[in-house]
């Protein structure tokens, strides 16, 4: 894989999300409305799943999108594919506004962006044979004639490492790993350029996960694909991605080249996340852990969302939302500590003493 290719501003991103937001609203039911008439003051619940996120994905790149549950990474992925609309912001496919395209163009774009889902059980229709699961879309979109469908599906199955003889089987006749491959074959059937993989290997056993990860890498090289790889698993993301974007409660906290993130993470949350990820090479580790829980996205903390759990938090973090600043070439981070370039704190953050420093701090913090 070619790495170190920092995004070149001269190249148009294959997909650009510009300050996109998505809110989910739970409207009040009758009982609540009646109660409100008597002055109960029940308010509508709004989740800001994605809050003004900008993301550029360049052709041929693998972007890893990392975050814990409820951070909006899946919602962002679905917005990229077009499964969710936007509340605000815009999305561009190769420089053209996706929401202003004419129908024909939109159809072509929809085919070019495909999604692979997490659950290899729930995402395949149990009543369809593989030939229909994989072959339906290309026939509908007239990529192949009905007569050539069988041949076409067989070639796609071969592409993902399945025996073409399995073409008449139903999903329940496959193991988990084979189902994941069927899901991939279905996405590839319409010859996409861009794949959004939402936790595509999370449900698989380690040995099967390795097979599917290898498949992703080889497909990328053979078909020149671009991936947005959504995962909570840092090891998987590090293995696959050229660039990593870290999300927390609907916002991007940090984004940089993969090497950069894993060797010199800037944001305190990223540092904590990296320190928490278990590794095979560390034996008999002393676990420390970040304090606090992940707040509910229904009622996120003010200012910087991470401040209640952050060991560097200051007064300012409680009120002001930190902007995403470029702290090193193509390395963005949203933390107030980066703003005073002259201050000593900045240099400490950027140069980083990630895990150890954090541990020591947490330990002394716990002791006091």
């Amino acid at each position: 894989m070619n790495r170190q290719n920092l995004p070149n501003p001269a190249v148009t991103p294959i997909l650009r999300l510009e300050k996109v937001s998505k809110k989910f609203e739970k409207s009040l039911d009758v009982a609540a409305k009646v109660a409100n008439l008597f002055g109960a003051g029940i308010r509508q619940e709004i989740v800001h799943a994605v809050d003004e996120v900008s993301l550029d994905v360049y052709p041929g790149e693998v972007v890893g999108l990392v975050g814990e549950s409820g951070c909006g990474k899946s919602t962002l992925g679905r917005m990229a594919v077009g499964l969710h609309g936007l509340n605000s912001g815009a999305r561009f496919w190769k420089g053209e506004d996706l929401d202003k395209m004419d129908t024909k163009q939109k159809h072509a774009t929809r085919l070019a962006i495909q999604m692979i889902f997490q659950d290899p059980y729930a995402s395949l229709n149990p009543r369809l044979r593989v030939s229909d699961i994989v072959g339906e879309a290309p026939v509908v979109h007239r990529l192949v004639g009905r007569a050539q469908k069988k041949e076409y599906v067989e070639s796609k199955l071969e592409l993902v490492g399945l025996d073409p003889l399995m073409i008449d089987r139903f999903p329940h006749q496959f193991s988990g790993g084979q189902r994941a491959r069927v899901g991939i074959a279905r996405a590839l059937a319409v010859n996409p350029e861009f794949l959004v993989c939402d936790e595509a290997v999370a449900a698989l056993d380690v040995s099967i996960q390795a097979q599917v990860l290898n498949l992703f890498v080889s497909l990328r090289n053979r078909l020149n694909l671009t991936y947005l790889f959504i995962s909570h698993d840092l090891a998987v993301v590090r293995h696959l991605s050229d660039r990593v974007v870290i999300m927390y409660l609907g916002r991007v906290l940090e984004s940089a080249a993969s090497d950069q993130i894993f060797s010199r993470a800037n944001h305190p949350y990223t540092q904590a996340l990296l320190a928490s990820a278990p590794e095979l090479t560390t034996k008999k580790k002393v676990f420390v852990g970040v304090r606090g829980e992940i707040p509910s996205p229904l009622n996120p903390p003010s200012g910087c969302h991470f401040h209640p759990r952050c060991i560097h938090a200051m007064e300012r973090c409680k009120t002001e939302r930190p902007p995403l600043l470029e702290v090193a070439p193509a390395h963005f981070s949203a933390c107030h500590l980066n703003e005073d370039a002259a201050s000593s704190r900045m240099s400490r953050l950027v140069q980083i003493a990630p895990a150890n420093d954090l541990r020591k701090k947490a330990r002394t913090g716990a002791a006091s």
Binding site: V206, S207, A210
Partner: protein
């Protein structure tokens, strides 16, 4: 040498299904010392959870323990009357499940459930039991335990629920806790917190742990020793650094190679071909031979677990010790 807390010998748990006999646990032997953390690792269907359930007597029909012995502090648990098992289960041996909602009753408050657990095994006053419950909640890092005692399980987050489950397991100061994937459903930062609590609690109380998981990296950081299971059998066991740094069984080698790490970036992972065999009517011979690159004609016979230099491998052609 100390007397082990638990000795399992040739444990066999079979499931008698209509399609045939499934040997979920097939002659599994290991022992756990006081204060030791043992990782029991395997992929889905390897029999690791059923081994845990067998120890605590929770295997239900059509499953049955058909052979072997389970000795807890020298006392044979197999064949004990149910009343005696009940006095040990939840008292001397506790279990923590992957889904804390399996442990917690959704319609009872936390205090009811905790006090019930104490009263089942200890003769103390209601006030004293409440104090003990509160202290246990405080110990696992739940803020304002007095108020939280009055909450229902649904009012807790996933991580907090798991803490409550751990607090309940710790109530009677057990000698052994069996943890069945307790952090698998949790986020990384929350997992780290739980691992941190478990580690300190066990060090303080000298409780032994059996940590059942599919995640080698968690076990690497936590455990003293490790048993790797494949298709119902232990294929390799030994100290954590021996097994993870110098694996000898081809399956362990493949499993470790399958995990993406710092050094594998950009390279293909060393994958194990094929998938786990069905345990139904598994024939004789090494179950891994169809996926193994070192397999030979000899592997048609059953390999035995051979012990050398404090570690055991079940293989005719183990990777040479370097």
């Amino acid at each position: 040498m100390q007397q082990p807390v638990l000795t399992v010998e040739n444990l066999e748990t079979h499931f008698f299904s209509r399609a045939g006999v499934v040997k979920a646990v097939d002659r599994v032997s290991f022992s756990v010392q006081p204060g030791e953390v043992m990782g029991l690792v395997g992929e889905s269907g390897s029999g690791k959870s059923i081994t845990g359930y067998s120890i605590i007597g929770l295997v239900s029909e059509p499953g049955r323990i058909v052979g072997g012995s389970i000795k807890f502090k020298g006392e044979e648990l197999r064949g004990l009357p149910e009343s005696r098992i009940r006095s040990i289960r939840g008292n001397r041996i506790a279990m923590i499940f992957q889904d804390p909602m399996m442990t917690l009753n959704p319609v009872l408050r936390i205090d009811t459930q905790m006090i019930e657990t104490i009263h089942a095994h200890q003769n103390v006053s209601a006030g004293r039991a409440r104090e003990m419950a509160r202290d246990a909640l405080g110990r696992v890092g739940i803020p304002s335990p007095d108020e939280r005692l009055l909450a229902y399980p649904h009012q807790f987050s996933g991580g907090m629920r798991q803490r409550v489950a751990i607090a309940i397991a710790l109530l009677n100061k057990p000698d052994l806790i069996i943890c069945d994937e307790p952090t698998t459903a949790l986020d990384v930062t929350i997992q780290e917190q739980i691992l941190c609590e478990m580690q300190t609690l066990c060090r303080e109380t000298g409780t032994a742990l059996i940590w059942i998981t599919h995640d080698l990296s968690v076990v690497a950081g936590l455990a003293d020793s490790i048993c790797v299971m494949y298709a119902g059998k232990i294929v390799e066991n030994g100290s954590i650094s021996d097994v993870l740094d110098r694996p000898r069984h081809p399956y362990t080698v493949g499993l470790i190679g399958s995990i993406p790490s710092r050094n594998t970036r950009g390279q293909p992972l060393a994958q194990i071909p094929g998938s786990t065999p069905s345990l139904l009517n598994l024939g004789a011979g090494c179950a891994f031979r169809t996926r193994c690159e070192r397999a030979s004609g000899e592997c048609e016979k059953d390999p035995v677990l051979t012990k050398r230099n404090g570690r055991s491998v079940r293989c005719f052609h183990p990777v040479a010790e370097s």
